[in-house]
């Protein structure tokens, strides 16, 4: 309980710092939201009108304070750029709420793929006494790690979409309309995200297991009459997973925060794409909330990993 309280206080403090930093960054970087909305042809009067409407004429500190008090009351503000209807701006909560499920489902999908495939693969790799299998896995994982994300996305589209015709490239269906269709389409971007991460995790696990295999307790296990298989799964795997869990944590945080490149390649309306477009149009309210979202995800995932770590390694909690 005390642990959770501590983590929550840390989270809130970090969020404050990060939001202030993001606000500051927006003050410093060149570019103006008004010109980006109205274009260069707008008259000064029109610009002034919009400026007044968005509250951009207030002093920066006041604007930040207003924004903070709004967020604390649960009002995430309205987007500068997106409109809901002709004379109503899009609330940020609604805007992000619409795109968040896409990113979360995509992340969930990829993580399942990563965990389900990389762990058995890592164990298999560590056990492979066969020289050829070892070498083959080595080459494959090197390649998978080295291919850039956008190119891998294109390859997956080409192979599954155009040759095998498993899905229609660019045929994204919203989860609101057809959930099954949505999940089907999402599988392929998920594969693109998962492939390099699977390669990394499997390699990492394999190395960790080989290191663990040299431990004294492994010899003890053999002295009891354990078979190779039992030694691997009942003794080594859990100990070898500890460094891998930290690594998986980083991957999870990264994926939930949004995979900008893959969302772009597969035309997915997720938060990653929203972040990029909002930054380029200087849509400050949207960017601020996205930054808060990403920060929270990273901190919360790391806290969960910390708890998981304690569960795997009994030595930590008693220290």
């Amino acid at each position: 309980m005390k642990y959770i309280c501590k983590k929550i206080i840390t989270l809130i403090m970090t969020l404050f710092l990060v939001s202030a930093a993001a606000f500051l960054a927006f003050q410093v970087i060149p570019g103006d939201v008004v010109t980006s909305i109205l274009g260069t042809e707008a008259t000064p009067e029109m610009e002034e009108l919009l400026r007044e409407e968005l509250g951009l004429n207030d002093p920066p500190v006041e604007r930040y304070m207003n924004w903070v008090s709004g967020v604390l009351k649960g009002d995430l503000g309205v987007s500068y750029r997106y409109s809901k209807s002709m004379n109503e701006r899009m609330p940020v909560a609604e805007l992000i709420g619409d795109k968040l499920p896409v990113t979360l489902w995509l992340a969930f999908y990829s993580l399942i793929l990563i965990i389900v495939i990389s762990i058995p693969l890592g164990v298999l790799w560590a056990r492979s006494k066969n020289h050829y299998l070892d070498a083959a896995l080595n080459v494959i994982s090197q390649t998978a790690m080295a291919v850039p994300a956008f190119f891998l996305g294109i390859l997956v589209t080409y192979l599954f979409g155009i040759i095998l015709k498993c899905f229609t490239p660019g045929g994204y269906v919203s989860y609101r309309e057809d959930f099954a269709g949505f999940m089907h389409y999402l599988l392929f971007p998920a594969i693109s995200i998962a492939i390099p991460k699977i390669a990394m995790t499997a390699r990492f696990l394999r190395n960790s297991m080989l290191t663990e295999m040299r431990s004294d307790y492994v010899r003890t296990a053999y002295s009891k009459g354990c078979t190779n298989r039992r030694v691997m799964y009942a003794h080594v795997l859990r100990n070898a997973l500890m460094p891998v869990v930290t690594f998986l944590g980083m991957i999870i945080a990264e994926t939930i925060a949004g995979s900008i490149v893959v969302e772009q390649v597969f035309g997915l309306p997720g938060v990653g794409r929203l972040l990029i477009s909002s930054i380029s149009t200087r849509d400050f309210p949207v960017v601020e909330i996205l930054v808060l979202y990403i920060t929270s995800v990273v901190i919360i995932v790391y806290a969960l990993i910390d708890i998981l770590y304690r569960m795997i390694d009994p030595r930590i909690s008693s220290k």
Binding site: I9, D216, Y217, R219, Y222, S223, K224, C226, R238, P314
Partner: protein, 516 residues
Amino acid sequence: MIKIDHLSVAFDGTEVVKNVTIEIGDGEIVGVVGESGSGKSVTALTLMGLVAEDAVLTSGRILFDDVVLAEAGKTRDKALYQKYQGDEMTMIFQEPMTSLNPTKRVGAQVEEVLKLHTKLSKEEMKEKVLKTFASVGLKDTKKVYDSYPHQLSGGMRQRVMIAMAIILKPKLLVADEPTTALDVTIQNQIIALLKEINEKQKNAMLFITHDLNLARRLCHRIVVMKDGCIVEQGETKQIYEAPKEAYTRRLMEAVPSRIPKKVPRVSGEEILRVEHLDVYYPAGSNSLFARKEKNHVVKDAGFTLHKGEVLGLVGESGCGKTSLSKAILGMNRDVTGVISHDTVRPQMIFQDPYSSLNPTKTIGWLLEEPLRAAGKLDKSLAMTKEDRRAMVYEMLKKIDLKESYYDRKPSQLSGGQRQRVSIGQALITKPGFIVADEPVSALDVTIQAQIMELMQQFQEEMQLSYLFISHDINVVYRMCDRVMVMKDGRIIETGDTQEIFDHPKEEYTKLLLLNS
């Protein structure tokens, strides 16, 4: 009966065990004694079928009753071995901490033996484990059953290992240095326990050790090994009273059994004074919100060290010896109290010459490093490259190493040679006193004697003072003028070595002396 029959084992074409024949009858304890590298562990591991996969049997076989478990020229039959391992033949290892799986409860780890070799129900298994725990002298067996290895003390862990080894009453029990990693008081309990088990279960035991005294107390027969060969074997009494081979005699002489100190005591001026010293570690996490607590490891320590004196510091592991020495060297800043001395940089000799020397540097570089460091701190001590080199060559001579060692790497040196380098490093800046933290504990007995002689020689020549830390009472007796006994962070008794050994005041000191 178990027979190791004309066994030779090779790694990469080099034989490390040569034509070894050992027979162990039921109820018999056979000790294999030798220094590290003598092939005793490889012999035991081969017998158990646990030797590394790249080991090749170049001759001989392993017989268990009449079954051939392994034979030269045949591939290892793992399935056959797995039937015996844990059931008919079991092994106890040196390091009980690392030999147990850190992430599994010890109850489950012992139970695994039953799972692999019996068809007992869950409840029966647990009951049997608890019973065995009680029979190896573990108290509060239910709590132990649910503990993880790190929650137990070293002695308790070794008892768990023994429980694991004897739970199915094996015909053969192999113990590879089972007490080396334990404190003396615990050592004796473990030896007594092994004796008791042997009498009750009548197992054949193979007891591997470098410690002749231990072997003498436990074993019926002794096999002396050197460089992979058997030098001599016979009844324990015969080996001790009438050793045939010179090597056996040398091994026995090298054991530091209460040899009095050779170097006369010189008591010069005071060079180190410690008063009311507390050493602590900040407890709790380094989080912003954690209250800062102090975890005291040394409490109210006070003593003085005089020029030319050797002051011994004795105590079991975890009593605060090393924390105290680190505080004196200034490596630990969380202290209160007074530490006063004139030495610019007191030096230290470390326990493990394998890990305390940087493996990527040459011996010359390592010996020069203290000079370089001193020069960087104090410009007046800065030396030219040639001067440093000259001093290193001089030091190599003093520590009995050839000049050609200048360009070698630590990995090309033996343990004893590395410890010489370690001593050379400590001495090259001519400090007033040296903290020696278990300087001979990681070495073989014959090497131990040499290193102690070298240290005494320097003491005489340079009027050096040592703060000599050890858990080995006999080593302390041989080296020290005065002795301090430490327990749970406090110095409980201080006095002249002879006085302490003849008339110890504290119960704990008596116990320490009794058990060595």
